[in-house]
Structures are given as structure tokens and as C-alpha cells.
Symmetry: C2
Subunit: 587 residues, 2 copies
């Protein structure tokens, strides 16, 4: 139907006749002379409908052009010529196409919104096809396509097999909530949608596939926090006969490769490596944003002698922490702004934050100075490295809580004071704790998942040191986002049973939920490990989007709806009867 | 953990020390001298544990080897040497590895079955990981991986964008039964799993993506006939601004490409093309297996004068058909075998089949000869081309029914008489009827789907000629399997509404189910079309498997169960309450 793409018409075509298909981005009728900006997925080219130079004819084409409206679907034939008013902003800006034929393929009704008008997200989602037609969204979606394609080509070239795992599978209530699917052929029974292909990919290693990957859809029926989706996509990978560095080295190289291919960016030749303990100590986060140069200073030893009970209690607590965060130039913060920082910290569990300001003249402003001797306070400020014009915030309390809220303050300060460097800051975080004590449930929960191998050799060792045991898990972090997470897995049936037991999953429950895994581990399971990368998040980062919704063609809202198709929706009772369920009466 | 793959150790490595990981395929202890066949995904290599030539030592290694059992997971270091008894069947057959270290990575318990014992499918599916470890299954699964990879590389190089569409979407009760997913955040409402991404891919064309593909999971809750799965995989494609041949020419070239890449097979440079009418007339099938040279002969005109009412009724019926199928060499069929043919035809709607045998001496044996004059019967046999030693079957009745059952006989005869040629016989079938009259429902149903464009220009034309209207649909057929099906779509809202109406879908119902499509068609939808290929079927054909279960890592049984994970399964009522459903009491 066409000879060229609109966005690729250039000077090399001058004098040639081309046929183009696309949408009318803008159409201007200057009375007997019309301009149309014709747009396809490659870009925009200017079409001119004007009287023929020789005959003064061409009335039919001019009339057709004059009738064109926004988003009409057109096929236009014409001759390419050089343009008087060059537009340097677009590739086609040096040419225009003088129309000899204009066909209206499909008339567009008046649009529900126009992209130029900065419409709200709801209307953009309802008319998603109009939103996706915009060059900005086309570019973002294409970034995702290129990312996925680059990943696949990298892995295909290295002997990884792309293997599909089931979407209709068994409910495994560990972790997030499952989506359930009633089974028509088995009254009263249900399939579940997979939260990840975790167990299937481990089974694939036991099945001899050696190197596996899948761009896999995963499902979690969780409260939709800020930027989550019911279904999301991960690059799921697993390797047989490997240790941590085998997985890390290959995937680090892979991520460098895709940034080079898609973004023309060269990431660090070696990603920094940091233990979980170090990340928490320096940045108060297990996914530190290393673009922000701010670091914590632990000051428990320096505050032990002061008279501020909040500090001394925390300093004397084996599980406590007293930490300072210096913000260069932060002395400009007003009392009100400091309160905002305190409020932000409170969201992450702070009961309060102390601070000290050193104004440009070196005068101290701090509600806690009075609790210190002059020398002790001076020593404290020296340890923090406070300069004239700076502020430092203090947090004191339980180690984890202090780290969390001071980590949140670090991010806020980084943003507020333009301390976020340009570029890309990847790193590996390793040596995570094996377990976390869940106060609410009164039991250990797995920090990664229950199939992660502990970094100990014996079951006895693990049982004796469960609280402090470190796992063989690892995360890849980029600009403060966990973009990948994985581990070496347990490949021994007895060790897997012991971990289930420590997590409060009894032998009977384990057999019911994970019996096939425990079985499979008995028939010569090889050592294996893997990782999964969040495709939506990486694509959003590459596209420069705050929200993953920009890189998902048909996303759902935070209330779990598709505004375009109107899903979910009520279903006739007769149809529910076929699958042996009914809607529950309201309690 | 290893330096080489087992299956790739060859003469180039003689004298070198290698470390291998794998499973013990076979282990033989000859008393102080042990052999282990060590297997990984690349193949098998022979390991020898023997006394050291110089020291007569090596007791530890020999003891470790002697303890090895089937499927133990091992790491073995040793020196490659030439082998005395060369095994030409395997790549590693000229070498063996003399072990200097044997590590037992994971002991295998006694196996539930052994691959050499030809186990039943149920036990293979329960212990799928053991089944998949066998070289035969590894080869089949790798064929699928290579197929998918070759398809992707072909399309990525041609500007197709791989775009994901939702799995949690809206129920659309046209066609097969939907899988339903209760929505936790919307009590009483449900998502449905997509039967295909059909509407989403059309929307993507309206959204300006121009060329789309996806290796997409699709879901149909149908009775599991012979070789169906609840979830299956299709290569889903859509093109904007195209006509039929654009889609067909590119995908034909693509299929040629993947057969070249994966199978080293060169398919026909131009696939034969055949209308639906011609395919039914010559082969009684819309997916004829062209490897079988047998063709129908229509004989209505030649039987009009006979006294066999079954023939004359059909011959006089405008919607009737009398057809003969000659089977060379078929005179050898016994009375009992002929009855089996009749029974086979009956499954496809035959009330009976007539036949005529011509024995090697030229004697006629036919229950219907008596209804004909000698001359008329001779003329009939001549028209059929019956030779000595042949049989011909006759079918008479309604056109469609006769075509169906005689088509089934053609396939059976092809198989029984070894008339299926080797190799690959692809073709395009085109010009399908737009509608089929459904006697049961008393309305038209779409032969492809309701979004297929009719091959007419106006709505009036379509309404006036609905019964005979031809669609712009097309199928790619390979060796008697429909491996791909597609069409040019309706891109005009009024035409789409008219087709819905002809299918008995009223304006209100259409707005409820397909409102977003009807809307989208109003805002400048471009002409578009596409196709979908059945990946499971193509992979099975390439792998030489009768069943698609051989090329799906974790398939379900014909009773819709996963025997490995034991899905589906009962769910606690409290969990059902969270999603606002309950199991329905038995009626």
C-alpha cells in the first residue's frame, strides 16, 4: 500500500514519487493551499496540496486536503521536493511531499482528547490506542521492544534455551496472594496463576536443560502500591552446575550489553559489590542509589556520654543504632522544611529526627547541643565532617528502623538538593540474611524465598545459627531500584526440608505444597542457581519514565482495572455454574 | 564447576585434563575396573576408573566409581585418551576419560522408572524431570527452542515489534469457553484469560505499531480432544496497511526460513494456493494433506440415471454431492477391512459407503453394480480411472458431510496403503466462506472469527449475499495440519457492526462486549490484517512427534491435570472468601 515510511522521507528521494500511509497529525487549510503533517511509526513528513504550477489545476487534491481532520487515516501519493523553511528538529525537515493523490482510508470522528492538551491518565488509558499513537509513547514502547530483543539475542547466542512454563498451575500460598482459576473438569478445584516460574525453572535444571531463560509473565494479587501491576514481566533465568559468580558475571555482562545496544551507554566494566550489611550501614538500604554521594556516619560511640536519652538508649542497645547524615548546603532548610523531613522519616518508622545546622558563619543551631559538653559536640561534628552551611540529621533507635528512615531521608535530600548525579549506577548487593524474624507471625520468613541456599555447609550449622545465617542470594541494583534478584538454590532434599521447618512449614504441609520439589531433589538434582530481572522496571528506567505503565501496552489502573476493555466485569451465573463456583453473598 | 560438556569431549582433547558434570546414565563395575557413561545435555562420554598404570593405586577413585548408581549427579576430573573399542554412534565414541577424581554431588534414590523400560505416559508426566532428561526429549525440546528463536530473529530483523498483551483481561463469550479469574478488588467481577490476543493486536495496529508479533499464550477451556491443551502457544502477528498477499508472502518466506534453519529442509519456493472450494472438491478437507496423491472424482452426473436412490437423491440435490475415491491396490481389502472403512466414515457423518473392487483379473465386486446398466457402470469406472487391483469408495449425501467423511477415508487410505509421500507439503487455503449456518443455534457463525473482513465492498452487498459471501481469511496448511490461520480484518466501524448483526449479536450486546473495538474503529483505524501460527503443532511436526505434549515442558493430561504438581487442587474456603466466590453446592 505504500512505498516509504513517512518519518524516513529525506533528501535522497527528492524528485521521486512516493506513496505514504499514516495519520493526519495536523492539517492546515490556508485557502487553496493546504498542509498536512502525515505521521506513521517512523515520524512525520509535511504534505502540501497546492495548485499545479503548470496548469493551476489539482482542485480535487486540494479539496481532499481541505477536508482532512485530526487523526484521519490517509494514503497519499506525491512528489518529494526540497522545502523552503527547513525544520531541523525532524529527520524529514528538509523536504515536503507535493500531493498528487489523497485517499481517505478511514475518517476519524472528533477525538475524545488531543495529545497536545496534556490529558489525564484515565482518559489516556480508556482510549489507549490514541495515546499509544503519540511519538512519545511510540518511543517508550520501542525502547522496551529493543530491550527484550537485545536480551534474547544475547542469551540465544550463549546456549540458553527459551522454555515456556505453565500459566495454569498449582496454588502455592507461600508469599503473595495467588490468582485462582476454577477448574471446569474438576468441580471444587482451582488452578493458580504463577507468582513466578521459580519451581518450574528449578525442575528444568533437574531435567537437564543446563541453561534456561524465559521472558515470563508473573502474577501477584497484591495491593497495588504506587507502581505495581497485577501481572508483570520478568526475564527469568536458571543455570545448572554453577556458583554465585557464574550467574553474576554472565548477567552483569548481559546488562552491559543491552545498555550498549539500546541506550548507547557503557556501564561500569565491573559493577561495585557490596554486602547487605555494608549497604545498610552506609546507605540504610538494600538497594542503595549510588548516584547520591551522601553516606551515613555511625556515631553511637560518640554519643554514649551525652544526656539525650534517645541517643544513649540506642547507643547502649546491642541491636541499636545512632546515625548521622550530613547534607552539604542543607543549612538553608527552614524550620518548616525540617519538619517536612521529620514527617517523611516518620512514614518509615521514625519517632523523631534530631538535627544540627552550621550556618555560613559557623554558628550552631541544634536542639540537641544542650545535651552535650562543648568538646563532645565538637568531636561529634568533626566525625560527621560538618562544614559551614551544612545540616546533619540524626536517627536513633533499633538498627533496622533507623537504617530505613535515615535511608529514606538520604533519598529525599539527594533529590531536594540536586545531589543525584547523572548517569547509571549499578551494583551487586550480596550476603543477605537467610531469615527475617516476623514479629506479627511469630516466625522466621525467608528474605529471598524458601528455596534459597544458605551459605553454610550443614543442616546443624543452619539450625544453630538461623538468626545470623547468611544466604547465597544476590540482587542487582540500578539507580536505587532492585532490577534483578536471584540466588544459588538448595539442591539437597534434606536441607530443603530443614529450611521449610525453620520457616514453620511442617513436613505434612511441605509434602502437600512442595512434594514434587522434595521428590525431584532426591533423583540427582544438580547444584543450580539463577536470577530474575524486572523487565517493566528496566524498560521504564531506559525510557526515562517514572511509571512502568508507560512501557506496558495495556496496563491496569491502581484499582486493578483495564479502562479500555472494562475488565474485570460481571459474569452470568450460568457461566459460573459451568465452573462450579458462585459469587459469595456479602457477609 | 566444569571445563567441558560431556557430549562434546573429542579427539582434539586427547592428553588433556577435563572436569565434567553430569548424570550417570549407566555404571558398570567389573571388579577393580569401572565404567560410567556420564551424560549432560550435549551427550554422553565414557569414564574409566582403573588402577594407575605406574603405581597400581587409584583405589579411592575406583571405590567412588563402584558406588555410582543410575542418575547420580557427579563431577569427574580425568584425562582424555583414545579408546580401544570405538563407538561410531556418538560424537565422543573415539575417546574416554580416565578418572582422577570423582565427586558425588547428589546421590539419586532408586528411580521410579527407567527410560529404557518404555514407561507409560502417566508416570513420565509425574516425574517429568526424569523424562525430560532423556536424550530423545532433550532433542525434541531443543527443536522447539530453535524454532522459536529462528522465528524471533527473522521478525526482529524485519521491523516487527514484540509487544506483550494482557493475560488478565475481559471475558468475550464469542467462541470457546473462557477461563475466569475472580477479582479480589471488585467483588462479583471476573477477569478472563485470553483465547487469543486478537482484539489487542488489532488495537495495536490502530495504535500505530505497524508490525507486531508475540509468542503468545492462549487459553481455551474446551473438552480436551485428542491432542489439545488448556493453554497453548501461538506466534501472533499483525500488519497495518496491508492486503492478503503482504501477510502471506512474508510469512511464507518466514516458514521457509525456519525450516531451513532448524531442519535443514528447503520448502517449496512458492507454496501452492487453493481456494476453500477447490480443497473441499478435490480432497474433502480445508487442510488437505498434499503428500497423499489421492483425489476425489465427482460422479453426480454419471449416476443420475442409476436406480440407487442414495445416489440419485444426492445427485439431484443442489446442495448434494456424489463422490468417488479410488485407492490404487485397494482391492486387497477384505470384507472386514471394508467394514472398518465404513465405520471410520460413519464417525464423520456417513450413513454408509458404497464401493467397487476390481480384482487383479479385472472381475468386478460391487454391491451397487446392480443399480447400473453395464455401460453406465463401465463409464463410471472409467471416469474414476479404476485399474485392476484397485478399490473405489463412494460417498453420497449433503456436500459438506460427504466431503468430510470421504476426506477422512482419504487420510485413512493414505496411511493404510503407505501412500503418504516423505517430506513437507505446505499450501495456502484461501477464499473461505464468510459464514456457516449453525443448524443447532439457528444462526450464522463466523468461519474464522467475527473480525474477519468480507471480500465485498459494501454492507448492502454483504447483507444480500451472506450465505455465499467469501471472507478475506487464509490458512497455511502443512502435511494436513492447519499450522497458521489469519485474515484481513474489518477496519470500518459500520461494517463491523453489520457483521455482528448478521451473527445475531445485537447492538447492545456488541457495545457491551466489543464497544472498545467499535470505538477504536472510529478514530482513524488503518486497514490491517494478520495471522497466527500454532507453535506447539509446528514444533511437534518438526520433532517428528505425534503429540504436542512432547514439545511442551510441563503439559497437562487429557483430563486437564498436571500430574507433577497435582494441579488443579482444592483451595481453603477462607482463601476463596478473599476473592468473593465459593464452591457451588452440587445440584
Amino acid at each position: 500500500m505504500r512505498t516509504h515510511f513517512c518519518g524516513l522521507v529525506d533528501e535522497a528521494l527528492i524528485g521521486q514519487t512516493v506513496t505514504l500511509c499514516g495519520w493526519a497529525d495536523v492539517a492546515r487549510d490556508l485557502g487553496g493551499l493546504c498542509f498536512i503533517d502525515l505521521r506513521d511509526h517512523e515520524g512525520i513528513v509535511q504534505i502540501v496540496a497546492e495548485p499545479d504550477a503548470a496548469t493551476a489545476g489539482n482542485a480535487e487534491v486540494i479539496a481532499a486536503a481541505a477536508a482532512v481532520g485530526y487523526e484521519d487515516c490517509l494514503r497519499i501519493t506525491g512528489v518529494v521536493r526540497a522545502r523552503h523553511a527547513v525544520n531541523d528538529k525532524i529527520r524529514t525537515g528538509k523536504v515536503e511531499v507535493v500531493a498528487t493523490k489523497i485517499e481517505l482510508l478511514n475518517k476519524a470522528e472528533p477525538l475524545p482528547f488531543h495529545a497536545h492538551e496534556n490529558p489525564g491518565e484515565d482518559i489516556r488509558l480508556k482510549y489507549r490506542y490514541l495515546d499509544l499513537r503519540t511519538p512519545a509513547m511510540q518511543r517508550k514502547m520501542r525502547t522496551r521492544t529493543r530491550l527484550v530483543s537485545a536480551l534474547r539475542h544475547y542469551l540465544d547466542a550463549r546456549g540458553f534455551q527459551d522454555i515456556e512454563t505453565p500459566i495454569l498451575t498449582k496454588a502455592t500460598p507461600e508469599g503473595a496472594r495467588d490468582f485462582l482459576v476454577p477448574a471446569r473438569m474438576h468441580p471444587g478445584e482451582f488452578y493458580a496463576l504463577p507468582q513466578s516460574p521459580q519451581l518450574f525453572k528449578q525442575i528444568l535444571m533437574m531435567a537437564g536443560f543446563d541453561r534456561y531463560y524465559q521472558i515470563a509473565r508473573c502474577f501477584r494479587d497484591e495491593a497495588l502500591r504506587a507502581d505495581r501491576q497485577l501481572e508483570f514481566t520478568q526475564l527469568d533465568m536458571e543455570f545448572a552446575w554453577v556458583a554465585e559468580r557464574d550467574v553474576q558475571d554472565l548477567t552483569e555482562d548481559m546488562i552491559r550489553h543491552v545498555f550498549r545496544e539500546v541506550m548507547d551507554v557503557e556501564l561500569a566494566a565491573q559493577f561495585p559489590r557490596m554486602t547487605y550489611a555494608e549497604a545498610m550501614r552506609r546507605y540504610g538500604s538494600d538497594k542503595p542509589d549510588l548516584r547520591i554521594a551522601l553516606e551515613f556516619v555511625d556515631v553511637a560511640e560518640l554519643v554514649k556520654g551525652c544526656e539525650f536519652k534517645v541517643f544513649t538508649d540506642a547507643a547502649d542497645d546491642a541491636d541499636g543504632r545512632v546515625v548521622a547524615l550530613r547534607i552539604p548546603g542543607g543549612a538553608s532548610l527552614s524550620r518548616k522544611q525540617i519538619d517536612e523531613y521529620a514527617a517523611h522519616a516518620a512514614k518509615y518508622g521514625a519517632k523523631g529526627v534530631a538535627y544540627v545546622k552550621l550556618d555560613e558563619a559557623g554558628a550552631i543551631n541544634s536542639p540537641i547541643a544542650k545535651f552535650f559538653s562543648e568538646d563532645a559536640f565538637k568531636a561529634l561534628l568533626e566525625a560527621i565532617g560538618l562544614q559551614n552551611g551544612d545540616i546533619a540529621f540524626f536517627g536513633a533507635g533499633k538498627y533496622k528502623t533507623v537504617s530505613d528512615f535515615m535511608g529514606a531521608l538520604r533519598l529525599k535530600a539527594g533529590k531536594d538538593f540536586n545531589l543525584v548525579a547523572d548517569g547509571w549506577a549499578p551494583l551487586w548487593v550480596t550476603d543477605f540474611p537467610m531469615f527475617e524474624w516476623d514479629e506479627e507471625e511469630g516466625r522466621y520468613v525467608a528474605l529471598h524465598h524458601p528455596f534459597t541456599a544458605p551459605a553454610v555447609d550443614s543442616i546443624e550449622d543452619l539450625r544453630a545459627n538461623a538468626k545470623t545465617a547468611v544466604s547465597r542470594g544476590y540482587d542487582m541494583v540500578l539507580n536505587g531500584n532492585e532490577i534483578g534478584g536471584g540466588s544459588i538454590r538448595i539442591h539437597n532434599s534434606a536441607m530443603q526440608s530443614a529450611v521449610f521447618e525453620l520457616l514453620g512449614i511442617g513436613a505434612e504441609e511441605a509434602a502437600g505444597k512442595f512434594g514434587f520439589l522434595l521428590d525431584a531433589l532426591k533423583y540427582g538434582a544438580p547444584p543450580h542457581g539463577g536470577i530474575a530481572f524486572g523487565i517493566d522496571r528496566i524498560a521504564a528506567l531506559m525510557a526515562g519514565s517514572e511509571s512502568i505503565r508507560d512501557v506496558i501496552a495495556f496496563p491496569k489502573t491502581t484499582t486493578a482495572q483495564c479502562l479500555m476493555t472494562d475488565a474485570p466485569s460481571p459474569i452470568p451465573d450460568a457461566q459460573l455454574a459451568e465452573v462450579h463456583v458462585q459469587v459469595r453473598p456479602k457477609a
